[in-house]
């Protein structure tokens, strides 16, 4: 549904997006992760035909972004960084304008679709209020309605849950899941909320400084970026225990949780190493209360990757 090949955008000497290549299938929710200035918004703007690439190319919904920008725009719904609403127009007038701009000519169909979406977000009763009187969260919801009003096969959502309360954020996550599962809408989600990415995305792309660092399923990325962790709860952490663990060459990293007297031991292969770690601690006179194993969250994996990049 979306395919890019060496997509690049330069502003003078600055390369905002550097040879980014990826492919997104129909109905997939694809996450764009990266710090501010990573190139996420610039990539979305190129794919939405708002700016053109310096080189490289892309197709969206089967249309080339350089050869057929109008067809691309017809096939795409976009939630921009700002809600981009006409504040002197009412919620209904805003949606009515964009529905017509996206080609819903039939007024009955338009009205039905706007009502359906406004009701989904509990905004139908406020339809005749000017958008300027809405709260930030309500404006964000209206902007999402604008993006989805024409039932586009492709959605670009730039920080859709930014500034929303937990309930509203959940409504938006539910809508995204619904659009992806039921309507097979392809969603490109740019977000700082790694929880959103973890819950919603089939795959994620991590970007930094315009470059694509990794692409994969959230689970795969966590495995690739960070080692599994063994949490060992003790009665007391002693220097003898720490020295014994650090002397073990299968241990990658040891962190402590002093207040809880817990050790977080990073290893490569949990199954093979856990018994040996336990044995090492016992031999160092450690008294074990419990042993747990887990993987780093996507957020931890992401931070590790970005910090590693910055060190380079």
């Amino acid at each position: 549904m979306i395919e890019t090949e060496n997509l690049t955008r330069k502003y003078g000497n600055l390369t905002a997006v550097d040879n980014v290549t990826f492919k997104i299938d129909r109905g997939e929710v694809f996450g764009f992760l990266g710090p501010n200035g990573a190139g996420k918004t610039t990539t979305i703007r190129m794919l939405a035909c708002l700016i053109s690439p310096t080189h490289g190319t892309a197709t969206v919904a089967g249309y080339n972004i350089q050869e057929n920008p109008i067809k691309v725009r017809q096939s795409v719904g976009i939630l921009t960084e700002n809600p981009s609403l006409y504040e002197r127009l009412t919620a209904y007038e805003n949606m009515n304008f964009f529905a017509q701009a996206y080609g819903i000519a039939d007024s009955t169909e338009r009205h039905k679709r706007i009502q359906e979406l406004l009701e989904f977000f509990n905004l139908w009763d406020r339809r005749n209020d000017k958008a300027g009187t809405f709260s930030k969260g309500m404006k964000q919801k209206l902007a999402i309605i604008r993006a989805t009003v024409h039932k586009p096969p492709v959605l670009f959502l730039d920080e859709p849950t930014a500034g929303l309360d937990p309930e509203s954020a959940k409504e938006i996550r539910d809508l995204m899941a619904q659009l992806s599962n039921r309507e097979k809408c392809t969603i490109l989600l740019s977000t700082h909320h790694l929880e959103d990415a973890e819950k919603l995305c089939n795959r994620v792309l991590m970007m930094n400084k315009g470059r694509c660092l990794l692409i994969g399923k959230p689970d795969e990325l966590r495995e690739r970026i960070s080692n599994p962790i063994i949490q060992i709860d003790l009665t007391q952490i002693t220097s003898k225990i720490l020295q014994a663990l650090k002397a073990n060459n299968k241990v990658k990293e040891v962190n402590t949780k002093p207040q809880e007297a817990s050790l977080l031991v990073s290893v490569e292969d949990i199954r093979a190493v856990t018994p040996e770690i336990v044995k090492t601690i016992v031999e160092a006179d450690g008294q074990i209360l419990g042993v747990n194993t887990f993987r780093a969250s996507l957020e931890e994996a992401y931070l590790k990757l970005i910090k590693g990049e910055e060190k380079q």
């Binding site: 921009t80 006409y86 127009l89 902007a143 604008r146």
Partner: protein, 273 residues
């Protein structure tokens, strides 16, 4: 080009403008001053004692350019009435070019620069509305209200002038005459289009509404130049001159439209944010 899309942009912008007093105020106040206040003040000169009026020496340079029959008529009028006649029928003619230029530049400045300032431009540019449809929509939203307000101002001015002078000139209706009709239906729309084209072009290149408006004010300079030139007797805005102006500005309009479409860059508009 799909005209429906251009009309859609027009309707949306017009809805916004109707609710924006910052834009509405100047396009209401200036025409009221020109079409109501000016004729009322000038018309009252006709009723003043002759000794209070300086006479028409100030128009010495203008009078030789007037048609012969008008010159003969003026020779038979009192100084008060000839002053009233020259002011109301000839001197104020170019003032009516200020209205469409001012109204269209105020609305036109708000077009792209205003959208950019209010951060609504990105969503608009992301729609499948083409560059030429967007540009035409923005031109229409400046042109239609500017023309409407100008025609209303013309109507009010002519009505007030005729009511006030009907008795003074022995039942003669001073307006409209051929010059005013050419002015209304020929020069005004063609100059408004020129002003709009330039303003929209400026608006798509600068950052904010105020910046666009300040640059657009420069467009009033040629109009004021016409007024001064007529006063100094350098030219006379008679039917022939007006037809010539229509021809010149029509050519300029076509050039501006093609130039606007050519230099209109969605990307640049967005990058100015």
């Amino acid at each position: 080009m799909n005209f429906h899309n251009a009309w859609l942009v027009f309707k949306k912008d017009w809805l916004e403008i109707k609710r924006n007093w910052q834009v509405l105020m100047p396009i209401i106040i200036v025409p009221i001053i020109i079409s109501v206040a000016f004729p009322l003040i000038i018309g009252s000169i006709g009723n003043m004692p002759t000794t209070d009026v300086a006479g028409n020496q100030d128009f010495d340079a203008l009078i030789p350019n007037l048609p012969l029959d008008v010159q003969n008529m003026l020779a038979n009028l009192s100084p008060n009435l000839s002053t009233v006649y020259i002011l109301l029928v000839y001197f104020f003619t170019p003032f009516f070019l200020i209205i469409p230029v001012m109204a269209s530049s105020v609305i036109g400045s708000d077009s792209f620069a205003g959208e950019r300032e209010r951060k609504t431009i990105e969503a608009l540019l992301a729609t499948p509305i083409s560059d030429s449809e967007l540009l035409l929509g923005k031109i229409l939203v400046s042109f239609i209200p500017a023309m409407a307000v100008t025609f209303v101002a013309y109507g009010i001015y002519m009505t007030i002038v005729d009511i006030m002078t009907f008795g003074m000139f022995g039942g003669l209706l001073l307006l409209p005459n051929v010059t005013w009709l050419i002015m209304m239906f020929g020069v005004t729309p063609i100059i408004a289009l020129c002003s709009i084209g330039l303003t929209v072009m400026v608006s798509s290149k600068v950052k904010g509404f105020k910046e666009a408006q300040q640059i657009s004010v420069v467009l009033l300079v040629p109009v004021i130049g016409l007024m001064i030139a007529q006063m100094l007797g350098m030219l006379f805005l008679g039917p022939l001159m007006l037809v010539a102006l229509i021809g010149i500005f029509a050519a300029v309009d076509v050039a501006i439209y093609y130039l606007s479409v050519k230099i209109f860059q969605r990307e640049e508009i967005l990058s100015k944010q």
